[in-house]
Amino acid sequence: MLKDITLGQYFPGTSLAHRLDPRTKLLLTVIYIVALFCAKSFFSYLLIALVLFTGIKVSGVAPKALVRGLKPILFIICFTAVLNLFYTPGETLASFWIFKITKEGIFTAFFMVLRITMLIMGTFLLTYTTSPIALTDGMEALLGPLKRVRVPVHELAMMMSIALRFIPTLIEETDKIMSAQKARGADFESGNLIERAKALVPILVPLFISAFRRADELAVAMECRCYHGGEGRTKLHVLRYKPRDYLVLAAYAAVLAGVLVLARFGL
């Protein structure tokens, strides 16, 4: 039952969005987010929405999957909308008891919802079209310059990829421990919240012990295969920018510039 969980879901494919260099896609996401936060008017949002829809179309990811990604944060979206709606000072349109709805409130709430929705959809587009390994590789390469100021970039990327590698293994193990504890009469499904939380202890303790043992064995196995940190390490897959990467980056930069110009003119 736990086997279906995936983190940062990835839909394999061969579209342009999939074939872009992961570094490009990370940069695009950053540009996209900056543009989104600089957007002040209907026109700039329209421009960014255009970019988002082109991205979705090109990637071939089902829009349904993107909408599904919004579900977990639906509450936050609604909460923000309500707060902005009632607490923005300005020209009052309607009021009852202590609440008043202002014209500015309606606008801010609308744009807030738009901003969060587009933010989530844009970043999901990244994880939907980039495999976790490519993503880690891309981050390691992009953060590479930080190595000079002694940020352990390689180590962080290695930890991340090992974590990703062990998620399915640990999930399988959790499943096994749960079955073993159920066979001994453990009850995970009834009782109140505190009782249920307590019932998790017999799962977590063996899981942690085994995870530490695994970590120990993995460390020895890695050393046996001559692992000695990132120094002097080569790669099977080397990231290379292609013309399409530059083109897409330029297009995004143009959009960002457009949004900034629009904001300058108060639009």
Binding site: P132, I133, S161, I162, L164, R165, P168, T169, E172, R213, R214, E217, L218, V220, A221, M222, E223, C224, R225, C226, Y227, H228, G232, R233, T234, K235, L236, H237, V238
Partner: protein
């Protein structure tokens, strides 16, 4: 022939639990393993066989005595990477030695660490996967593979470093019979075709029969050493240190005690049947 691994008066003990005497895991092991041979090290739990294996590529360093790997003293820290490149190690639990979440990335891990050029890594990965007959699984996720397949990937990861010797530290212990067969076939083939020295640590008697030399460990010392035919027929001695002779030898031993004139050293099942037929004729 030259020696790939040589130990002299090797002793080692693990740090003791509180208030206890240190346990001597290895009590003076002098052993040399020829380049290109297939050696099985047999022993009961706690016989020191795994501890010995861990000395063969400097995972553990000797407390007393010396270990040479291809002429290099394992205590020389500057030679560590070279020693580990020449003697690869495959462990018991297949899940805990696979680093990457794509098969080819995992096989590439060793060469990447050694700083091999990208084009050469590609060649090494492909030929290593071919060597363990896992070429078609190149892009698979390791957690979808069977135990035997995972161990073959681990072997491929070692082969990609182009070692002279592979040490399998109870690598078949967690596998089902089919997985064990796959792994054993793979290492015997590598030994025959590529001349890679194989050191197989196990407590399965029938695996010992595949080797050209069997070393039996007990109480931290090698107590028997010879070809499978010489060692595996010493039924009484093996029993005394908690090991069972292979089923065929047990059977022949029993027949002999009942007065039949059969040889003891018919290790294979066919060979054993043949010997019994001849005795009955």
């Amino acid at each position: 022939m030259s020696e790939i691994i040589k130990t002299e008066h090797l002793t080692f003990s693990y740090p003791p639990d509180e208030g206890k005497e240190p346990v001597l895991a290895l009590g003076g092991v002098s052993l040399s393993i020829e380049q290109g041979s297939f050696v099985t090290i047999l022993g009961h739990n706690g016989s020191g066989k795994s501890t010995l294996a861990k000395h063969m590529n400097a995972v553990l360093l000797p407390e007393g005595g010396t270990v040479w790997v291809d002429g290099m003293d394992t205590r020389d820290e500057s030679l560590l990477l070279e020693i580990r490149r020449r003697v690869g190690m495959v462990f018991q639990n297949p899940d805990n030695q696979i680093v990457a979440n794509v098969v080819e990335e995992d096989v590439a891990f060793g060469p990447e660490n050694l700083g091999v050029a990208t084009e050469d890594i590609r060649v090494r990965v492909d030929s290593a996967l071919q060597a363990v007959r896992m070429g078609e699984f190149q892009m698979h996720a390791p957690h979808h593979l069977s135990g035997g397949q995972k161990q073959r990937i681990a072997i491929a990861g070692v082969i990609a470093m182009e070692p002279k010797c592979i040490v399998l530290d109870e690598s078949t212990a967690m596998l089902d019979p089919l997985g064990r067969r796959e792994v054993l076939d793979t290492v015997s083939r590598l030994n025959r075709e590529k001349g890679i020295t194989i050191v197989l640590i196990t407590h399965h008697m029938d695996e010992a029969a595949l080797a050209d030399r069997v070393v039996v460990m007990s109480g931290g010392r090698p107590v028997m050493d010879g070809t499978p035919r010489e060692v595996l027929v010493r039924v009484e001695e093996l029993r005394a240190i908690g090991l069972d002779a292979p089923h065929t030898v047990e059977l022949l031993h029993g027949l002999r005690q009942d007065g039949f004139d059969v040889p003891l050293d018919a290790l294979g099942i066919g060979e054993c049947a043949e010997a019994i037929v001849q005795a009955l004729a």
